[in-house]
Structures are given as C-alpha cells and as structure tokens.
Symmetry: C2
Subunit: 440 residues, 2 copies
C-alpha cells in the first residue's frame, strides 16, 4: 500500500484487548486512534484489592496516553462512542465523528442485574475504579457505623456482608473481606468485634469457580470456609432491598451487599447491527471480524466465539490479549496482501486467589491450590501490571500487608451514608438479626 496515505485504525476501548492491539498495531505503518471513556487503563484482576483497601487506585491503573506515549503514530482520545456508520466507515462519538479504515471494537462488558436495574445501587459491582472505591467506602463505613451504634448504647449489631456470585471476583472479594474482618481491623475497635462479622458468598449454581474443575471448586470452598466465609451454593437471590438480601423465603440482613454475579456485553455491540448472543456479545467470524465487514473486528469480552471443542471462550484477560495480538497480525497480513488466518486461543491456564496465601490454579493437567497457587497468582499478576513503577509499589504493598496484615488504603471518601442503614428498612434488618444469627 502507499505509505503516503496511511490507513487509519480506530480502537474503541483500552482494556486488555484494545491496549494490546494498540501497542502491536503501532508498529505498523498506520495511524492509530484509541478512544476510551476513561483516561486510564484499569488492571481489572487487582481491582478487588482496591475495593478491599489493599491497594490505591493509582497502583493498578495508569493513564492510557502514558502507556502509549512512545508511539508517535498513536493518538488517545477521552471520548464516549455512541454509534457507528459501517457503510461510511465512521465512528460517531459525543463530540465528533472519526473516519477509519479498520475498526477494532473492544469496549468490554458491564454488570448485569438480570433485569433488576433497581438492585444496582443496593449491590454495587466491580468493573471500574469508581466501583472499587464505592465498595471500599461501604465496607469500611459499615464497621464505623456499627462501632458508633454500639458506642452510643444502641446495642451491638452483628455485621453481615453478602457477596452475590461465586466466580473469581466473588471468591476474591469474600476471601479478602474475611481477612480484613478477622485480622486487619482486629484491636482497632472498642465497642464491636469485627472478627464476628458474617461473610456470606451466595452462588446460584452447585459450586463456586464453575469454570474450574470440580476438584478445585471443592478446594476453593474449603479454603473460603477456613477463612470464615459461609459459602452457600445452589442459592438464587430473589430480591435485594436496603439492608437485606432475600433468597426464596429467607431474608438475610446485610449492611453491605456486593454484586459479582453477572456481566453483560457493552451496549455498543448492538450498534453494529449484526447478530448478538443472549449476553449481548457480538457473534464474530473465525477472524474476529463481523459478517460483511472484514475491516471491523470485535475482541475481548464483547466478542462471542467458540473454541475448537465448541465451548465459548471465557471473558478473561488472556483471551482479550491474544485477540488483540491476533488482530494486529491480521491487519499486518492485510497490508502485505496475505490471506487471513483464523484465531486460535491458547489456554495457558487459569488462576484465582482466595484471600491471604490461598488460591487455586489450573495449568492444563497441573492443578495447584493453597499457598503455591497464591504465589503463582501473585507473581503472574504483578508481572503483567502496567509499568515498572506500579509493579515495585504493589510488591512493597503486598509484602507489607502480608507481614503485618495491614491494609494500606483504608480511606472512606465521599458520603457517610449506607443504603438500608439510616433508612427505616434498617429497623427491619435489626429485628431480623436473631433469625439471621440462628442460621450462623
């Protein structure tokens, strides 16, 4: 092709997929524009550490334009994409339209509340830095409000934290919350005993970490219970109200409810006007392009593609990263007028951590659990953290909190209100507690 008129590549979303694609494509003789609603890339696997006050946001997120600063043919725009015009090859944003020769849609996924949007304010999910800070605020505030209540002679009120969803995020949150209650906050309160906090992990299916082997699911459950988490599988949440979670006939009082149950693909997928699956993911071709538009790729959590065995690829970072690399290679082959190959996912294994020095790992036939799984998790994740500086700081933070049990970022910022705490429903929650406790 003529290098004078460089091809324009627009990448929507700077998660693992979009960022990987941008870094690789930057090496080609093309003009790249990365568009994201946030100015920063968030290292999602460590987001639960921000939500549980172990790390500061700045340690797991870095400005997108800083990450891409050395690629002079890449521009980064803080923009909200609204729509596409595939015929005229345009991306329509809130403030402008961007022309493209290649479009890579990597806008990821968001929370799904199974048709109950009213649950969102009561049970925040964990996708963004803002989500993590809101969860941190609620968790820390619950202890403060309980201490205040007890100190003012209104009587001690047992704290119940409910995590809904037994996938990796739910398991990580529940495990870390147990640690905080049992260790980090111990000796810091005078009127309440944080170590008596009940932490429930509610999972709809018959086991946690459903994508892992039955054996590792069992191991994960045992490790969670050792940490003091009540794991309740085959439990479907029927209602969430201020101060309580309802499972069938049972009403569980809960000062903090966290949502780790469902994700839905980014609504931008629908704007492409091509077939999507039930979760709103775009059904892509073997080359990750969409039907009728070889120049439009969809990657990461937003793409729906089956592997050789016909199993759908999971919405995890390794898939997004490999798809980002693949799309870069594919565009390179296009520029050299070589035929496209189809995408193949190489499963290097999966890892989940369960609080302090516990976890499960699955690498092909090799299965790890406990301390070694945790170590593997720790080093792999810190290795992949964006930017040396963050890696170093995270290592120090980790070493520190491992040695001292301390959580470095226990700040409550923003409002001092909790849903269902100061409002009337709280009273209901109170009267329900004996029942709640009798189950404990």
């Amino acid at each position: 092709m003529d290098a004078q008129q460089k091809q324009r590549v627009v990448i929507v979303g700077a998660g693992f997929g979009g960022l990987t694609a941008a870094r690789r494509i930057a090496r080609l003789p093309v003009q790249v524009t990365v568009v994201d609603r946030k100015n920063h890339h968030t290292f999602q696997p460590l987001l639960y550490q921000v939500a549980t006050a172990g790390l500061s946001p700045g340690e797991i997120a870095a400005p997108i334009r800083w990450i891409l600063r050395t690629s002079s043919n890449v521009e980064v725009l803080l923009e909200e994409v609204l729509d596409f015009n595939l015929e005229q090859k345009k991306v329509i944003t809130k403030d402008q339209t961007l022309d493209y020769d290649y479009l890579i849609l990597a806008s990821g996924a968001t929370h799904a509340y199974f048709g109950h949007p009213e649950w969102e304010p009561l049970a925040p999910g964990l996708k963004t830095i803002e989500d993590a800070l809101e969860i941190r605020r609620r968790v820390l505030l619950a202890f403060e409000l309980a201490e205040r209540r007890a100190a003012s002679g209104q009587g001690e009120m047992p704290l119940n934290f409910v995590v809904i969803g037994g996938g990796p995020t739910g398991v990580e949150l529940a495990g870390t919350l147990a640690e905080i209650a049992r260790h980090a906050l111990k000796h810091e309160f005078r009127a309440i005993r944080p170590e008596q906090t009940r932490i429930l992990l509610i999972e709809g299916s018959h086991r946690v970490l459903g994508t892992y082997s039955e054996e590792l699911s069992q191991k994960a459950k045992e490790q969670l219970e050792r940490l003091g988490v009540e794991v309740r599988t085959s439990n479907l949440v029927t209602r969430i109200e201020p101060g309580a979670v309802v499972i069938g006939e049972e009403r569980i009082p809960a000062q903090v409810v966290l949502w780790a149950a469902g994700v839905a693909a980014s609504p931008l997928g629908r704007r492409l006007g091509v077939p999507i699956d039930r979760a709103g993911r775009v059904l892509v071709q073997p080359d990750l392009s969409i039907p009728g538009h070889q120049e439009v790729f969809v990657i990461g959590d937003l793409a729906a593609l089956a592997d050789e065995s016909g199993k759908m690829l999971p919405g995890v970072a390794p898939v997004a990263i490999q798809q980002g690399e693949y799309v870069a290679k594919t565009i390179a082959r296009d520029l050299e007028h070589q035929p496209r190959r189809s995408f193949h996912y190489h499963d290097k294994g999966s890892l989940a951590t369960i609080g302090r020095a516990a976890g499960v790992a699955q690498f092909g036939n090799l299965k790890l659990s406990g301390y070694f799984a945790w170590l593997a998790w720790l080093f792999i994740h810190i290795f992949f953290l964006i930017g040396f500086r963050n890696r170093l700081l995270v290592m120090i933070q980790w070493a520190w909190s491992y040695l001292t049990y301390e959580r470095g970022a226990r700040l409550i910022t923003g409002s001092n209100q909790l849903p269902g705490w100061t409002e009337p429903p709280e009273k209901a929650a109170e009267t329900d507690i004996p029942a709640g406790q009798s189950r404990g």
Copy 2:
C-alpha cells in the same frame, strides 16, 4: 483523683492538633473519645501532591483508629458534631450526646470565599482528600478536553490555569502545575502542546508568601517565574465565572481555577458562645481554654491567640501540634492539682516548596532557598508523615518522579465535565483568548 471514675476527655477533630492531643492524653489515666467526620487523618502539607497526581490519597492519609489502635483507653467515632452544652458538659452529635470532663475543640478551618459562596464550585479549594481528587480531576481533564477539541479540528485552544492566593498552598500548586505541564505531560499529547499552558498565580497583596521575609518572597517569585508561572501580585479577583476569572476590568479565560486565597475557622467555634474574631476563630485564654470554662480548650486553626510580640499565631501544623502537646500537659497538671502555665509557641521556622527541587525556608535567622530549602522541606515532611509504611512509599514515589518527572496517580475518576467548558460561557472564553494571549 480516683482512678476508678476516670475523667472523660472528648477531642473533636483529628487533625494535627487533635491527634497530637489524643496521643499524649492517652498516656494519662483518663478515657479519651476522638470524634471526626472523616475516618482518616489527612497529612495536609502533602495534599497538594494528591491534587497534582504525584501521590495517591492512601499515601498521605491514614485511618484515625489505626493511628490510635494501641491506646486501649482511646475510642474513635466517625461522627458529625453539631453543638455543645457547656453547662451540662455535653457534646451533641448527629446521632448521640457525649459527656465530657474535658473538651478539646480542634475542628480546624475550611475555605473562605469572602462572601462569594457561588465561587466554590468554580474554584475548588484544597482542604480534604475529596478536594484534592476534584482538583486532580479538573487539571487532568482540562488537558484531555483540549486534546479532544484540537484533534477534532475545532482548533487549538491555549490552556489557562489560574491559582488564586499566593500563600504556601497557592505557591505549591502553581509551581507543581507548571512542572506537570512542562515535563510530566510532554510527548504524551499529539494535537496540543501542554508546555504552552499558561499558569497564573494571583495574589491580592504586594508579594507571595506574605508570612516570610521580603527577601524570601522575592526568591519564591523568581523561582516560580523560572518554572514558567506568571506571578501577579496586588491583583484582586472581583468575579469568578465558568471559564474565566475577572480582575477589575480584565477578564482572564481559565479552564481551571483553584482557590488558595482564604480560610475561615470551623463553624463549630461559634457554637461555644464565646467571643470570636473576624475569621471566626475563638479568642482563647493564655492556657487555650475559653472564658468561664477551664475544662474547654480550643486548639489549632480554630484558636486565636497572640504570641509575646502580639502577633497572631499562624494556622500551621507546628502551632496545632505544640498546642495539642500543651493541652495534654495541662490536663496532666490538673489531675495532679498543679497550677496551669500559659502556652508559648516555639517557632522552629517555616518552609515552602515550589515545584521540583525549589523552595524557601526560614529558620530563625537562617534563610534557605532553592534546592536546599526543597531538600529540607522534603525530609522534614516525610519524617512527620504518619506511619512508617507511608514514609517509605512516599520516598519511593518521590525518588521515582524526581528521576523520571512522572506523576504516579494521574487518574481521572468521576465526571468528565468541566465547569465553563461544555457550557455556553466557554464560547465567550474562546473569543476572549486573543486578548488573553496578547498579555502573555
């Protein structure tokens, strides 16, 4: 006194004064309650580093109950104090009343907009972590929006940042903003040149750092100008509107306006029903108690007291800390039925930093400026940071950004809107820019 019925000391506010008092009084045979609206103590001298993305909130703030965790006779309450009943010796909070034998009011100061509360949303001040994050958001967002505008062909728009108030905070903010624009963000933008950002420091009096010697004020001005800051003294702001600051007849377009001009004492001072000065500070006795109530002390920024020479004590950390220590000693003497002594402030000197490797310091007759003042500032402040862990991390952050010019916490969280940017007044600001530039 009878140790069976311990005296109850209530401390309102966990800033430098309240926290110091709590730590010292905890050693006495008394029961201490610390009440604060926030769960964390904020190390205010480094707050400007959070506002300018150099440090994360978790690195300059620590949970109050964590700091006081080892003192079992100290309880910490997250509470908002509303009023007092001095006759019945009660503190009235939002949720309860607290009895006291001794009351120490250390609720500090807040921003003062000189009777223009409408300026606050347009020109945030810097007192809390939330303030710092809001300033960080606005500063980083201004560059992003300018890049977006330029990239979309709407033409390059020179960025103007205006800092109002030439005290230590204003000088620190202006100096650091200049650094960010000239160094940290260089090479990261494609459509705009951050190094062309105009940074104005507006001071009403005839010199910056008015509490320092004329000589050091001059040195500070020179260092600021070397960093690229336009220092305008004897300039009084008459109006702030979205996108602009008005000084007399002159209207300066400004995408970001920061307020470092005035502080007002906490409104709680008025609730004591004793004489206050124009700034709302409580006129305390030589022993820092209030007239007619030996058992009620007011310390820190909320207290108005003159030194030997009749000069009012400044609202700085050393004064608050020494007053906290003094009150602890005084209560100890009361318990031993010894007469009270009056408070004397020992001025150990003052320090201000001006961006990277620049600053001014005044220790008695010793005056430093430039690199050595900055070094002194750096080590003194890191030394006083609460908690070893934070010290270590801040040191690393500092070393890192000193070597690389990088800012570690450049995250935009929350809204992507700026006042006066998307609203109509922005247009006005645009048309005014040539005029603004011609002055440059």
